[in-house]
Amino acid sequence: MSVMTLPSAHLLDASFTDEDREVVALAHRFAVEVMRPAARSSTA
């Protein structure tokens, strides 16, 4: 995910550096690609 597609919930996180944004984007991608499918398919 690119910096541009950070969830809008972080719109006011102006103090984040580009590196911070990458970390948040990575967490979001992990949530979308790994956590949600895992929760829905087998555990929740």
């Binding site: 948040v24 949530a31 790994v34 555990t43």
Partner: protein, 363 residues
């Protein structure tokens, strides 16, 4: 729904999630001490927590608990333990064992007289025997990750004359002889998060495994609850936001009266109310998170955040389910799961109303 024993069975999806989480390096990226501004790091960590719990809060807690045991183990100063559980690349799942079958709210009510009442007898006690402690009794089926933790951070009674205030904190490897972990608990929400009782049959640990003694136990418990309540706040902002996002997406798709329901004014105002609540919950959370990065946050502030945010997560997910109409009640849509997850949070790490009573003494 998946059987709680199947959730944690070898080869289950849970272990794949943990492997993939480790591979992301997210744990270190947001919490590692790299000399940068602690407030900025704390803010980043809160944002990461929010994202992960937006994905699934039960799994987010599970991932987070791979970092729970290390500080307690370090406190023991026991090199064997440190090498075994804290070496780079070793995954150590931790758990916090406080709640007992007969004592839930009792164990967190450290500002109340009952906490010091020796007539209130604990279910789990450690007694000194030479160079060792012998731990006997039981912690309840509500210990998160109790069934799969490698190391148990055990809060239990040491000096029974002081009631629950006479506690100690122990690090207990879960493979020691006498540690028994019966079937995991089946529960309403946060089902990917394992919950399991732990029974101690005269478990012997060296004296250095007690890292907090009775004299400072109430203070340590207060610190732990403060930290835990701040952690809960960051997590359940993500749950509240997940509910809001799901409702917004659905309202844009679902057509009634010939147009998407988001174009109906009452739906718009309900969605905006959810947005407002999520923003307020995040703002309060960030306030305690950022303060805690500089100096310990007083307990009452952490409780204000936890109780407010978890109540918000529940209110927003309930309002979101209403936006889904009948579809919201089915398992085909994810909102009913988010509502169940949020409901559990109002009891998790202390019932909200009890936490409020314990904190009120500090006002």
């Amino acid at each position: 729904m998946t059987d709680p024993a199947a959730v944690i069975a070898p080869g289950s999806r849970l272990w794949d999630v943990l492997d993939r989480y480790d591979a992301t390096g997210l744990g270190e990226a947001s919490t590692g001490d790299d000399g940068s501004d602690p407030v900025a790091r704390a803010r980043l960590s809160a944002a990461v927590s929010e994202e992960l719990s937006w994905g699934d809060v039960g799994l987010a807690i599970t991932c987070g608990m791979t970092r729970f045991a290390a500080p307690w183990i370090q406190m023991s100063g026991n090199n064997e333990l440190i090498e075994r559980y804290c070496s780079p690349g070793v995954r150590t799942i931790g758990c916090w064992a406080l709640t007992e079958p007969d004592h839930g709210s009792d164990t967190v009510s450290f500002t109340h007289d009952s906490f010091r009442d020796p007539q209130i007898k604990a279910n789990c006690v450690a007694r000194r025997d030479g160079d060792e402690y012998v731990i006997s009794g039981q912690k309840s089926g509500w210990v998160s990750l109790g069934s799969i933790a490698d190391v148990i951070t055990l809060f239990c009674t040491v000096d029974q004359d002081r009631g629950h205030s006479g506690g100690g904190v122990f690090v207990v490897p879960s493979d020691l002889p006498g540690v028994e972990r019966p079937r995991p608990t089946d529960k309403l929400g946060q089902r990917p998060l394992n919950q399991g009782e732990v029974v101690f049959h005269d478990v012997r640990v060296p004296a250095d495994h007690m890292v907090i003694g009775p004299d400072v136990y109430p203070m340590a418990l207060e610190g732990m609850l403060t930290q835990g309540n701040i952690g809960m706040s960051t997590l359940f902002v993500g749950v509240a936001r997940a509910a809001y996002d799901l409702a917004l997406d659905y309202a844009r798709e679902r057509v009634q009266g010939g147009r998407p329901i988001i174009e109906h004014q009452s739906v718009q105002s309900r969605i905006f109310d959810m947005f407002r609540r999520v923003e307020a919950a995040r703002a309060l959370t960030r306030r305690v998170v950022e303060s805690q990065a500089i100096a310990p946050v007083p307990f009452q502030y952490a409780v204000a955040a936890k109780t407010f945010v978890t109540q918000t997560a529940f209110d927003v997910s309930s309002a979101a389910l209403q936006i889904f109409g009948g579809n919201g009640l089915t398992r085909e849509y994810p909102i009913e799961k988010v509502l169940r997850d949020a409901r559990a949070s109002m009891i998790e790490d202390g019932c909200n109303e009890v936490l409020g009573l314990v904190a009120a003494v500090r006002l």
